[in-house]
């Protein structure tokens, strides 16, 4: 039990301890119980930071790679183990920081909630399962924590289960994740059957030494199937429907789970399995990422609920990360994951504090009808909530990809990657850079649309406006920390201050990733390097354009937004975007309704038709046969046959009686005839 293993196990099990503590003792202690969780998370964060520091001390090799047999049946053994390398260390820090900050934030946000302690328990459970995914060294172990993360998100989304919408959102999230999990499980099985192991490093090595040489297609399928898990978890295109509904949960939950960590798990897993993803699989990944990025961005334009905008922006940014990995920009993808976690958490928490104060204001004037999250009721909050405003602006600048902010560093690298990919593959792959840059414009536009609608202009509702005030310290300090973390220099400290150069500790710690399944990393690196300059130019102009448009539309109101939307709507574009491409409705019509109708049919068939009719028909048949045999047994066999014999004998008796005529001589005659007939008979034979 080396100290590093001890620390690693502590990181993993401390949050679980906090979960157990809250569940069993939390309700008895009441509000003060949150100190235990805060302490636990603080320690976890410090341990994570110690691992993080280790990257600089002993760069280059895996900090910890140990595994033990979980259970085995003869030659089939399943091992659990911990594998920490630079990526995992960084990821640990990201998860723990945001989880810790959300814990602090929640002490204020969830004040007065009847199930306060249980909430902290669920947060602990989530952090435990998230750390589990990060530390896992085998795909099966990752799958185990995958589902545990799913259940903790189910519990947290459906935390206020009195609301029917929250309950069904929780279920929707869990089931959609489950769909992805099935794909992942099949992928794992495929790999296990082919290579006989779940361990990621071992798989990578075997692929490197040609385990899949003959069946390249099989490896592609396995890769895609495992990536299905990421689609489900990171809300990529077909399975993204659950993330917007997950906004039903408390905002800190959205910040922690649906912005920074859980959704990033999918990307993290893709990063882990990048080594054995074949070019074909990567192409599929890139396309999915591209579609998601563009589509979610378009939808985000027209949303009015502040959290929905951020939710779709998360989906689109995740699309970015996935596209980055797809095009081979391994480092950029993971870089964006880290930076996105920071500024998206900051955005969500900021929106949380806005909603929180709106909620209090509405509470004061006890108007329960208006929705505290609807941006149309807000406006001019700049003066009322300065800290929230500043942190939100910083985060928006970062997400839009403005230099001096982390977003620029990572997004620029991704866009360079898409351009490089286009240079290498030409043809239809032009779609990737288009979706990349298109999404970049729209992101900048809707982010600043949000800023201007909530913080600038006159307040839409005077009565609410008076009661608005800045949220207490516990909520604002995390905002400040996160906005600081969104500044570029955080990632480029030791080497350069030049805003346009993304070199830094991060780029040195995270290598450009190697791929043993047919992707030639040198070529990709070369193309990346060339595409860097043009990509930077285009991304800068694009970001500026987006912000300018938002300025014109929402700050200076040069263009009347309603008139424009009506004209655009003639083509139905507005409705298309506002109603989320009607995907939910399509799924409902194509999938859910027919499915449940089908189950009704199956149940009806199984019960009314098969059981009552078919099985009971046999019963009826046997009864019929028994009746018939009973009847026939009596009337035929008994009356006709048996009594028949009786009657027959009586009949013959009567006949024969006549022959007893009393004349003795006839008897003798009979006797003689008898003898004669016997004689003749014997003579004959």
């Amino acid at each position: 039990m080396t100290p590093t293993l001890m620390f690693a196990l502590a990181i993993l099990f401390l949050p679980l301890l906090s979960f157990a503590f809250q569940i069993f003792f939390g309700s008895k202690i009441g509000r003060a119980a949150h100190w235990f969780s805060l302490a636990a998370l603080g320690v976890t964060l410090s341990l994570a930071l110690s691992f993080f520091a280790n990257i600089f001390i002993t760069p280059g090799y895996a900090l910890l790679d140990v595994s033990a047999v979980w259970f085995s049946s003869g030659s089939f053994t399943v091992e659990l183990g911990i594998y920490i390398d630079n990526i995992a260390a960084v990821m640990l820090v990201v998860v723990s920081t945001i989880s810790f900050l959300v814990h602090i934030y929640s002490t204020e946000y969830m004040r007065g909630d009847p199930r306060y302690t249980r909430y902290f328990g669920y947060l602990g459970l989530f952090t435990f399962s998230m750390n589990g995914i990060v530390l896992a060294n085998s795909l099966l172990m990752m799958y185990v924590f995958w589902e545990l993360v799913g259940i903790s998100s189910y519990l947290l989304i459906g935390f206020w289960f009195e609301k029917q919408s929250a309950a069904s959102a929780g279920m929707k999230a869990f089931l959609t994740n489950r769909v992805g999990d099935i794909g992942m499980f099949i992928g794992i099985l495929l790999l296990f059957m082919q290579l006989g192991t779940f361990n990621i490093q071992a798989i990578a090595e075997q692929v490197e030494f040609g385990a899949f040489d003959g069946t390249g297609l099989l490896l592609t399928i396995a890769g895609i199937m495992v990536f299905m898990g990421a689609i489900g978890k990171s809300a990529q295109f077909p399975l993204h429907i659950w993330l917007p509904d997950a906004m039903e949960g408390p905002t800190p939950v959205s910040a922690l789970i649906h912005a920074a960590t859980m959704v990033a798990a999918g990307v993290y897993m893709t990063v882990r399995i990048f080594a054995f993803l074949t070019p074909a699989a990567l192409e599929f990944v890139a396309v999915i990422g591209g579609i998601t990025a563009l589509m979610a961005a378009i939808i985000a334009i027209t949303q009015v609920d502040i959290k929905r905008v951020l939710a779709y922006s998360t989906v689109s940014q995740l699309g970015y990360m996935v596209m980055a990995l797809g095009v081979g920009a391994f480092q950029a993808g993971f870089f964006h994951l880290t930076t996105h976690a920071m500024f998206k958490a900051c955005l969500f928490l900021a929106s949380g504090s806005v909603i929180h104060s709106m909620h209090h204001a509405l509470h004061k004037i006890d108007d329960h009808s208006t929705d505290p999250q609807d941006m149309r009721n807000m406006g001019g909050l700049r003066k009322k909530m300065p800290i929230t405003y500043i942190s939100m602006v910083v985060a928006s600048l970062s997400i839009s990809g403005i230099p001096f902010f982390t977003g620029f560093l990572s997004k620029d690298a991704i866009l360079a990657g898409t351009l490089a990919y286009y240079h290498l593959h030409h043809g239809w792959t032009i779609f990737l850079p288009i979706s990349g840059f298109g999404a970049a414009i729209i992101t900048a536009f809707y982010m600043f649309r949000l800023i201007f609608m909530t913080f600038h202009g006159e307040p839409a509702r005077k009565d609410i406006h008076e009661h608005l005030h800045e949220t207490p310290g516990a909520m604002t300090t995390p905002l400040i920390i996160l906005s600081v973390l969104s500044l570029a220099f955080v990632f480029t400290i030791p080497s350069t201050v030049n805003p346009f150069n993304s070199q830094g500790w991060f780029t040195s710690a995270i290598h450009t990733g190697e791929n043993f399944a047919g992707l030639d990393m040198e070529v990709v690196g070369e193309a990346l390097h060339h595409a860097h300059e043009p990509a930077m130019m285009i991304s800068l102009t694009v970001a500026a354009l987006g912000i300018l448009a938002a300025l014109l539309f929402y700050l200076f109101k040069v263009v009347d937004v309603e008139k424009l939307t009506r004209r655009v709507n003639k083509l139905g574009l507005y409705n298309l975007s506002f109603h989320k491409f009607y995907i939910d409705e399509i799924y409902d019509a194509v999938l859910y309704r027919p499915f449940f109708w089908y189950t009704k049919v199956v149940a009806k068939f199984d019960w009314e038709l098969y059981d009552q009719k078919f099985i009971d028909w046999w019963g009826w048949l046997t009864l019929k046969i028994s009746d018939w045999s009973g009847y026939s047994d009596y009337t035929w066999l008994d009356q006709k046959v048996v009594d028949g014999f009786g009657k027959a004998t009586r009949y013959f008796g009567k006949e024969l009686r006549l022959s007893q005529s009393g004349v003795i001589q006839n008897y003798i005659l009979g006797g003689v005839i008898g003898i004669l007939s016997i004689f003749i008979l014997f003579q004959a034979f």
Partner: protein, 102 residues
């Protein structure tokens, strides 16, 4: 001519005649006569076989004697029955004794 076959034929004729007599004669005594004929036929056969059958002993003839003894006893009893029949029914016609009719 004095061989076994002729005796056998003679006895079979006697036997058939006796049988016919028993079956057709209405009178009790006639029936008795028929029986006597049958017995004699059988007796004739015994003696014939004794002579032609190559038997060392005279078994056949001993049988003959016993048959005669038997015939005597039988005739006596039969006649007693017939007389009784006559006394009861004033007629010897055996058809009248049909109490056994079923």
């Amino acid at each position: 001519m004095d061989n076994l076959h002729s005796y056998l034929i003679i006895s079979s004729i006697l036997f058939s005649l006796g049988l016919f007599g028993v079956m057709t004669r209405r009178n009790g005594v006639a029936v008795l006569m028929g029986i006597e004929l049958i017995l004699n036929a059988a007796n004739l056969n015994f003696v014939a076989f004794n002579r032609f059958g190559g038997m060392a002993e005279l078994d056949g003839q001993v049988f003959g004697i016993f048959i005669i003894v038997l015939a005597a006893a039988e005739a006596a009893v039969a006649l007693a029955i017939i007389i009784n029949l006559f006394k009861n029914h004033e007629t010897v016609n055996i058809d009248s004794a049909d109490q056994m009719k079923g």
